[in-house]
Amino acid sequence: MVTSVWNEVYVEEKIRNHPRVESILNKVQKAPVYIESFDEIWGRSKKAYLQKRDTLNLFLAQKQGQLLKLAPDAYGSAGEPHYYFIHAYNCIYECQYCYLQGYFNTPDIVLFINHEEIIQEMEKALLSHPGRVWFHAGEFSDSLALTHLTGELELYHEFCQKYPEAIIELRTKSVNIRELEKLPPLPNFIVSFSLSPDEMARRVDLKTPSTQGRLKAMDKLNQLGFKIAAHFDPIIYEDQFKSRYQELLVQMNNLKINEKLAYLSLGVVRFTKDVYRDAERNYPDSVIHSGPMVKSFDGKVRYHRPMRMWIMSTIKELAIQAKVKPESIYLCMEDDA
């Protein structure tokens, strides 16, 4: 008997014959329940975040409404427009600081299959700005974790081939790079990995590949000629943070990753008030709560300013020592840093 990671699979009636749906259903090997629209069930009533551990449902749907969102200031490197595109809701991983635990009413995953329409929106956005435009995947879901099921990478890759001024960032903690490896590298198709020191990742990035696994995937893509980037975000304080980030940066340098990084973003752990409350409830014993948190300039809960600036400047210095180009380092979500 085949067991599935999915509790139930729901498919919108209007896309039941879509080839992408058929392909996904073949891979998940679970008889679907057909429904009119995903939101008649998904998120209608509050489903506790941690229920994803034992009753995670999958919805295959067609995204209606906004397919592309303008990212907030300080989202990526400054001075250029940044958008994120919405190809999925929710994530198979369980990072204790993740804002998704308070964002949707449910942890159930939705995979949208109308990528062609998303790409049309990206084309419109591209034409509305002179110069480079960034498109980020991974705002509401890991951008690589399920690509063996969804098979959409090729479409976005083609978009990058067609429009050199468009830059796509696939942000991930996944080592699922099989689909990527089938594609030729492009200078405007960037794969960025979120990294934390081993021990911290083990404590807070639940159900994700280890840091060593992520480094291995980065190394492989780097060797294949892919443009890669890294996010040290969120940085969580621990007394040994300096030595641990130093060790991570040395490992990256040994793999010759640092000199090739398109960018390295640094961001200290932060929460909206609601997500902080959710994280306290879901993970009361997590190290994310052990630091001196205050309500900061934008209403978010973070370490006090001298502490986070000290942490970021310390790690920035370590990164430069480990051959990361200073101009490729940016501080994330600090308005005046």
């Binding site: 329940v33 630091g291 006090h304 001298p306």
Partner: protein, 336 residues
């Protein structure tokens, strides 16, 4: 006082006998510590009857007990705490749901009996169990601000046509199991109350400092990956106890020690702030910085009664510097 709600007399019989409840009216039984309410079947009945009884007694908790059909092959006769409660109407979930226990099974309270497998199939992704009352009782309890719990005994497989007959036949057996479970639940609550942590002798905590103490103890335990007992042993509580200090002062110093361990910069920032304030005070000026260390701007003030004094203060302002403050706010310092 506890309010126990159950749907029918048949499933409530065990509770009535075990807890020696006296009949007050056909749907109400009581002793000195609990009231048992028979709500009848269906979410509307449950919410209405529960809401009507709640204002009449000082309830500290509402507990729903009863049978439920399984959507996921659970063994008949098993009792489970309810984790989440959803209301379903026309096989679709309603907007409001309730979290009950952090672990357990998810229960759907349905407006209709689920007597065919096709309907049960449609509900399988939404929960593990189907009942007819729990959501209604939860709605009334939560609206009144009273804690709510629910335990369900698996009575049948949801979608079975003859489920009702099975439940009727086994009603007394289920009812005995539920009453045993309720007895164990009460025993576990009493044990928890007795083992609640005692506060340190020789120290005085107010309501807010006690909260602060517990929160810091937990933070240190997480940060240093040691038990709270080990953290307590590592603090200088004995030294503080030996010193001639008031219990309140002892507590203040203990909290300070704990805060310094949670925040590696706290002592350093405090010292730098004192130095900064002193340098301004020497010139007759006052500097106020954000106690939370968040606002990168400081307030500088002075008093003056005459033009001459004002000119002196303006001259004094030219001689002070905010450089050290800006450095602190930008994290430009070293920490050993």
């Amino acid at each position: 006082m506890h309010l126990i709600t159950m749907a029918h007399l048949g499933e409530a019989q065990g509770v009535i006998e075990k807890f020696h409840l006296q009949k007050v009216r056909p749907d109400l039984f009581k002793n000195e510590e609990m009231i048992l309410l028979l709500t009848g079947e269906g979410p509307m009945e449950a919410v209405t009857k529960t809401a009507l009884i709640l204002p009449l007694y000082p309830f500290q908790e509402v507990i729903n007990l009863g049978v439920a059909g399984s959507l996921k092959n659970h063994a008949i006769g098993e009792i489970h705490p309810v984790r989440s409660l959803y209301l379903v109407q026309n096989l679709k979930p309603g907007f409001k749901s309730f979290q009950v226990f952090s672990e357990g099974l998810d229960c759907l309270t349905s407006f209709e009996r689920i007597l065919d497998f096709e309907k049960a199939d449609k509900l399988r992704g939404l929960g593990h169990l189907v009942d007819r009352e729990a959501w209604g009782v939860a709605m009334a309890a939560k609206t009144a601000g009273i804690p709510f719990k629910a335990f369900k005994i698996i009575s049948d497989v949801a979608g079975t046509v003859d489920a009702c007959e099975i439940i009727k036949e086994k009603a007394y057996e289920f009812s005995e199991k539920l009453s045993d479970h309720l007895e164990k639940y009460f025993a576990s609550i009493n044990q928890k109350i007795q083992t609640t942590k005692k506060i340190l002798p020789g120290f005085h905590f107010t309501f807010s400092t006690e909260h602060q103490y517990k929160s810091l103890l937990q933070k240190l335990s997480i940060k240093e990956q040691r038990s709270e007992e080990e953290i307590l042993q590592s603090l200088h509580t004995e030294t503080l106890r030996e010193q001639k200090l008031s219990p309140k002062e002892r507590s203040r110093r203990l909290l300070e020690e704990m805060e310094n361990r949670v925040d590696p910069l706290k002592a350093k920032l405090f010292q730098q702030k004192l130095t900064l304030q002193e340098s301004f005070k020497e010139k007759g000026l006052t500097i106020i910085t954000d106690p939370q260390w968040e606002n990168p701007k400081a307030i500088i003030s002075f008093e003056a009664a005459t033009d001459l004094e004002l000119q002196e203060k303006i001259e004094a302002l030219k001689a002070v510097s905010l450089e050290s403050f800006a450095k602190i706010m930008n994290g430009d310092f070293s920490v050993e």
